[in-house]
Structure formats: structure tokens, C-alpha cells
């Protein structure tokens, strides 16, 4: 079969397994997204943007079942005072969720899109559509078209506690598609937490529109279920003097592709996106980031650290695009992996594309092993090999974790990483 025909059949088969939701204000956007998707087709193995990650299990009609992962550990963020919103296998759980009313924010479900929400209607699918150029992201278009639910968050003030999306995986065959839309008004501020595996296969899009001076913090911990698969996208648009900071912890998961597409459209904005991932064995983790500077004096940072062992694979594709006129851009990108054995691999494609002359951009990508000299030094002071290796590994991850501003959240993430490392010693 010719390549185009293969792609056509993959897309057809996938769409045949789905039903396009109808009615309500999102209907038009969904139809447009479906047309967009049909035009570009789902990703194929040969697509340049999927060079290091095989898309099949993310695009095939029926999700590969994923065993449930039972452990007695208390779920992350459990000690944090938060407004909790629960999805089980992609289905909203009203009983387990908190009351959605909180001062300074209005929260609605996408599935209730019958009530007319002008701000959400104007936003739904638009950042995703914008993010399709210059590189197509078909799984995100599929999401806009077929999402069964999601949360619409309109932040109008400074929120007293984080809004927390908790995902639970209870069916081995669940295949969830959720689409969240967040709008942060001028001067408003919110912290969004996400945790849990969501489903056997999870397709999630989050569109974040931050008005001038708005502040958005995001800390996510992807579920520890070993066999789960996830394709996630964040599309963020930043107004002048606004702040976007997103951190992701990934421990386990047979397949994860996290894309983050950020557009700095107002002067003096700040965007940081960071990730720490730890993988042991059958683990494939892909961070794909695209940051566009389209305003003056903006700062962007991409900080990604990966710890890989027993044949785990890490991928990083990161780009900084500086548009003409985006002077005084300060762009930083670092992607590093710590390979704890010879079987694991890290594939990186860092890119800079700059059309302005007064900018400072740097990028670096490295792949290394534990520093034997440092390890011996620690051991010579009485710290056994396991804990000494963990200390050095946590030190390696620290630059990414330090991107989390809130100290409690930072400690929570560090604690989880330390516990994971302790469980996964050689």
C-alpha cells in the first residue's frame, strides 16, 4: 500500500471507532477539527515528527488493554489543600469531586456545553488549530473533535487553592479523550495540578489562554501504571507580562508523548516548561516542545531531565522559534539524560530558529552516566552505593524540579522521585 493510503486507512479505522459529539456550542469547532484531522491524517511511522516514537499504539482504532496498577501508596498531592475534580477512565465522577464553586474562578464541564459559555466557545480548539502550524499535531485535532468531556476553567481572580484534576484508571480497556480549556484573566492567578493514569489509553489536550499579567502554574504527575499509554498536548498563549510555568513528573508508563506548544504573543512574558522522568524497562517517554517568541523581551526555559535504565527510552524534541521583531528574547533549552546502564537510550533533537538579531538563546543536550568519582566520594563517607546513586540521581533531576515554584509541591515531587529511585535500585 502506498504511504498516503496507509495513513488514510489508519485515520479511517480510528475515526470509525469514535462518535462525533453533537449539539451545544462546541459542535462547530468539533466539525472543523475533524475536517482538519482528515486532511492531515493521523501520524505514521515515517513522519519526521514521529521519528523517535512509534505512533501506532496511540493511533490504532482500539486501545491496547493496560493492566491496573495497584499499590498502597497515598496518591500524590493528597496532603495539599485543593479543589479536587475526579475523572475515572475519562468519566467525570461528581461524587468523588469537590463542589466546583470557588471564589475567583468559574468551573464547568465540557460535557455540559449546552449552557452558553462565550469565553470557552471562542477558545475551544483555536489554540490547538494555531498549534498545527508549522508542524501538524493530528492527535490534538482528533481530541478537539472527539473529546467526551473536560474541564473549562475561567480564572478571574487570584485563587486561594490549587485546582486539582485527578485521574483514575479502573478499566483495563478504557480509552479516554479529555479536552480542558483554561482562561486566565488579566491579573488573575491559578495553580493547576494533575495526577493519575486516566485510562489504558489517554488522549488529552489542554488549551491555556493567559491574558496580560495573568499567572498560570501547572504541576502534573502522570500515572504510575506500567502499561498505560498517553498522548498529551498543552497549547498555551501568553499575553504581555504573563507567566506560564508547567512541570511534569513521569514515572513508568509504557508509552508517553507529551507535547507542549507555547506562543509568547505579548511583551515581557515568561514561559517555563520542565519535566523529570524516570523509566525502568519497558518505558518510552517523549517530550516534544515548541516555543514561539513573537513579542519583545520574553523569557522561555525548557528544562527536561530523564533517568533511564533497563532498556528504557527517552526522547526530546525541542524547538525555540524567534519570530522577526521578537528582540531581547531570552531562550534557554536543556535536555539531559542519565543512563544507568548501557541498554537504555536517549534520542534528542534540539532546534533553534531565529529571525531576530538581538536575542540570547542557548541550548544543550547531553547523555551521561553516574559520575564514578562522585559516587566513590559519597561511599567513602559511609553512604552505601544505592542511596549514594540516588543522591546523585536526584541532584541530576534537581534543575528540572526546581522549576516548580511552590515549595510544598516541589518537596512532594522530590519525595516521589526519591521513593521511585529507592524501589528501582539495581
Amino acid at each position: 500500500m502506498a504511504e498516503a493510503a496507509v495513513q488514510q486507512s489508519t485515520t479511517d479505522a480510528r475515526l470509525a471507532s469514535l462518535t462525533l459529539p453533537t449539539g451545544g456550542w462546541s459542535e462547530v469547532a468539533r466539525k472543523q477539527a475533524e475536517a482538519r484531522l482528515r486532511k492531515m491524517g493521523l501520524p505514521e511511522r515515517r513522519d519526521e515528527y514521529w521519528r523517535y516514537t512509534r505512533p501506532e499504539t496511540l493511533t490504532q482504532a482500539i486501545a491496547v488493554p493496560a493492566a491496573l496498577f495497584n499499590n498502597d501508596e497515598t496518591p500524590i498531592f493528597g496532603e495539599i489543600d485543593r479543589l479536587s475534580i475526579v475523572f475515572v477512565d475519562g468519566v467525570f465522577d461528581a461524587e468523588a469531586s469537590d463542589d466546583l464553586s470557588l471564589e475567583g474562578v468559574s468551573i464547568e464541564r465540557l460535557a455540559n456545553a449546552t449552557s452558553d459559555l462565550h469565553w470557552a466557545r471562542d477558545l475551544y480548539g483555536t489554540l490547538e488549530e494555531k498549534g498545527q502550524t508549522p508542524v501538524p499535531r493530528p492527535l490534538a485535532a482528533l481530541n478537539t473533535a472527539y473529546a467526551t468531556d473536560g474541564i473549562l476553567i475561567h480564572v478571574t481572580g487570584k485563587i486561594s487553592k490549587p485546582i486539582s484534576l485527578q485521574y483514575f484508571h479502573q478499566s483495563e480497556t478504557s480509552d479516554a479523550i479529555l479536552h480542558h480549556v483554561i482562561r486566565v484573566d488579566a491579573g488573575a492567578e491559578v495553580t493547576l495540578l494533575e495526577n493519575g493514569p486516566a485510562a489504558a489509553r489517554f488522549n488529552k489536550v489542554m488549551e491555556v489562554d493567559i491574558a496580560d499579567t495573568g499567572v498560570f502554574h501547572h504541576v502534573r504527575a502522570q500515572g504510575r501504571d506500567h502499561e498505560r499509554r498517553a498522548a498529551t498536548h498543552i497549547f498555551a498563549r501568553l499575553g504581555a507580562e504573563s507567566t506560564f510555568k508547567s512541570f511534569t513528573l513521569t514515572a513508568n508508563g509504557v508509552m508517553t508523548r507529551n507535547e507542549c506548544v507555547i506562543e509568547l504573543t505579548g511583551d515581557d512574558a515568561i514561559a517555563h516548561v520542565a519535566g523529570a522522568c524516570v523509566g525502568d524497562g519497558d518505558f518510552h517517554h517523549d517530550d516534544t516542545v515548541f516555543v514561539t517568541h513573537d513579542a519583545v523581551n520574553c523569557e522561555s526555559r525548557q528544562v527536561f531531565k530523564k533517568v533511564l535504565r533497563n532498556g528504557a527510552t527517552g526522547v526530546f524534541q525541542g524547538k525555540i522559534l524567534v519570530q522577526p521583531g521578537a528582540q531581547k528574547t531570552d531562550g534557554y533549552q536543556i535536555s539531559q539524560s542519565l543512563l544507568l546502564d548501557d541498554d537504555s537510550q536517549f534520542l534528542a533533537k534540539p532546534e533553534l530558529e531565529i529571525y531576530a538579531d538581538d536575542v540570547a538563546c542557548s541550548h544543550g543536550s547531553t547523555s551521561g552516566a553516574i559520575d564514578e568519582g562522585a559516587l566513590f566520594y559519597l561511599r567513602s563517607r559511609g553512604i552505601p552505593e544505592g542511596p549514594a546513586t540516588d543522591l546523585l540521581t536526584l541532584a541530576f533531576l534537581a534543575e528540572a524540579v526546581e522549576e516548580i515554584e511552590n515549595e510544598d509541591l516541589r518537596e512532594e515531587i522530590t519525595g516521589r522521585l526519591a521513593a521511585w529511585l529507592e524501589r528501582h535500585r539495581s
Partner: protein
């Protein structure tokens, strides 16, 4: 305390013998100094005793209070009471000095079946030790040895020694890179730890350190062997005449 008998060591990677039969007996309460030309094997001896990779013991033994140290992992040697102040202390980005030391103190206690030191007790102790060595609070918080000056690194080694209270202390050129005042501080730190139950092996090139830390014995190492042993006067002889005469005499 530390008993080294006919120790032969070669490099693991190549067929090169570095230590060619070292004999050394260090009693509790005594300070032994080792001097010797560059490349004679002094650091190698200290590394082999503390368990660094890359060396192979082909003959001989080394025991600490009767226990075979060569069979132990580096951390076991530390818990058994062996401490090496490195000639080149290692920088460890991302690991705070305090976290590092607290982990070390408690790991050793745990290995010996003792109770962990509480955070408050640890803090009190480290503040006192740091003050003795004029190490400021900022240095304690910084990553281990990162951005420390040569002298600061050496003082940090001695502070670690003071915190860990080992039985057998090996100091590898702790005086190099120290200014006169820092040398005094370090010597005071060492002297404060001198007691009847503790042995010291001080590797140095200069008599100056030995003015402050008075050794009971001085050994000369050359080409992987101890070639001469004497009292403090031997260090003076080296200082005045170099190694030429001594080496000629034993050749």
C-alpha cells in the same frame, strides 16, 4: 589499629604495579607521616585502603582492628572507622553539603546499629565544627565542594572528619593549597581529634604541617615501598636535603 602487610597493588586496566610490598603498622593514639617523591604511590595506598575501583591487590593484607578491610565495600570501611581526606576533594553539583553530611553520619550510625542523629542535634554539631574551621553557613548550604577554593575544600574535608569521628584518619596532602592561617586551623582540627583511641596517617610533602601536627613516626615511600622509617627528624632531613641522600642510602 591499621595493619598493612606486604601490600602489592597493580592497576586493574594495565599491567603496572604501583605498590610493591608496603608494610605499615599504625597503633591507636599514634600519628604516622608518609613522605615521598611524586608518583611513589602514597595516594594509591590511601585509595586502596578506602576501596576505590581500578586497583587490584595481588598480594598482602590490610586490616583495621583485625578486620580485613580489603574485602569490604567503601561504605563498610567508612562505617568501620576508616576516613580518607582526599588529595583532590570531589565536587558534587546538586548535593548540598549539609544533606550529604547528614546522610553520611546517619548511614554510618545505621550500619553500626546505632540510632540516627536528630536534625536538631546534627545542626548543633555541624555549626560548632564549622565554626572551629571557619567554614561559614553559606558554605554548608552550597553543593559539596562546588565553587570552593582549594583551601576551602581541604577545610571541608577536615570538617567531615570531625563530624564522622573516625578511628583511623588518612590525610592525603591536606596541607597543599592551604595558606598559613588555614594550615593552622586544619592542624588544630586534627590535633583536637587526637586521642588514645585514634590513629592517623598523614601524607605530606612538607615539614611545615608536621610542625603543627607532631608525628610519632615518619616514613619515606619510594617506588611503591616504605624505604625508611624514623622519628620527626626524618622529615627535617627531607626538608633540608631532599630525597637524594635517603634514596641513595637504601638503594
Amino acid at each position: 589499629m591499621l595493619s598493612i602487610k606486604n601490600l602489592h597493588v597493580k592497576l586493574e586496566e594495565e599491567d603496572k604495579e604501583i605498590l610493591k610490598g608496603v608494610d605499615l603498622e599504625i597503633e591507636a593514639g599514634k600519628v604516622h607521616a608518609i613522605m615521598g617523591p611524586n608518583g611513589s604511590g602514597k595516594s594509591t595506598l590511601s585509595y586502596v585502603l578506602s576501596g576505590k575501583d581500578g586497583y587490584e591487590v595481588t598480594e598482602g593484607t590490610a586490616t583495621l582492628e583485625g578486620e580485613d578491610v580489603l574485602e569490604m565495600e567503601p561504605e563498610e570501611r567508612a562505617a568501620a572507622g576508616l576516613f580518607l581526606a582526599f588529595q583532590y576533594p570531589v565536587e558534587i553539583p546538586g548535593v548540598g553539603n549539609m544533606t550529604f553530611l547528614r546522610t553520611a553520619v546517619n548511614a554510618q550510625r545505621k550500619a553500626r546499629g546505632e540510632e540516627e542523629m536528630s536534625a536538631a542535634d546534627f545542626l548543633k554539631l555541624i555549626r560548632a565544627r564549622a565554626k572551629d574551621l571557619k567554614i561559614d553557613a553559606d558554605m554548608l548550604k552550597r553543593p559539596v565542594n562546588v565553587g570552593f577554593s582549594g583551601g576551602e575544600k581541604k577545610r571541608n574535608e577536615i570538617m567531615q572528619m570531625a563530624m564522622l569521628e573516625p578511628k583511623m584518619c588518612i590525610l592525603d596532602e591536606t596541607d597543599s593549597g592551604l595558606d598559613v592561617d588555614a594550615m593552622k586551623l586544619v592542624a588544630e582540627g586534627v590535633n583536637a581529634l587526637r586521642n588514645a583511641g585514634r590513629g592517623f596517617l598523614v601524607i605530606t610533602h612538607y615539614q611545615r604541617l608536621l610542625d603543627h601536627i607532631k608525628p610519632d613516626y615518619v616514613h619515606i615511600m619510594a617506588d611503591g615501598k616504605i624505604v625508611k622509617t624514623g622519628g620527626p627528624e626524618l622529615a627535617l632531613e627531607v626538608e633540608n636535603n631532599g630525597y637524594g641522600d635517603i634514596l641513595a642510602e637504601v638503594a
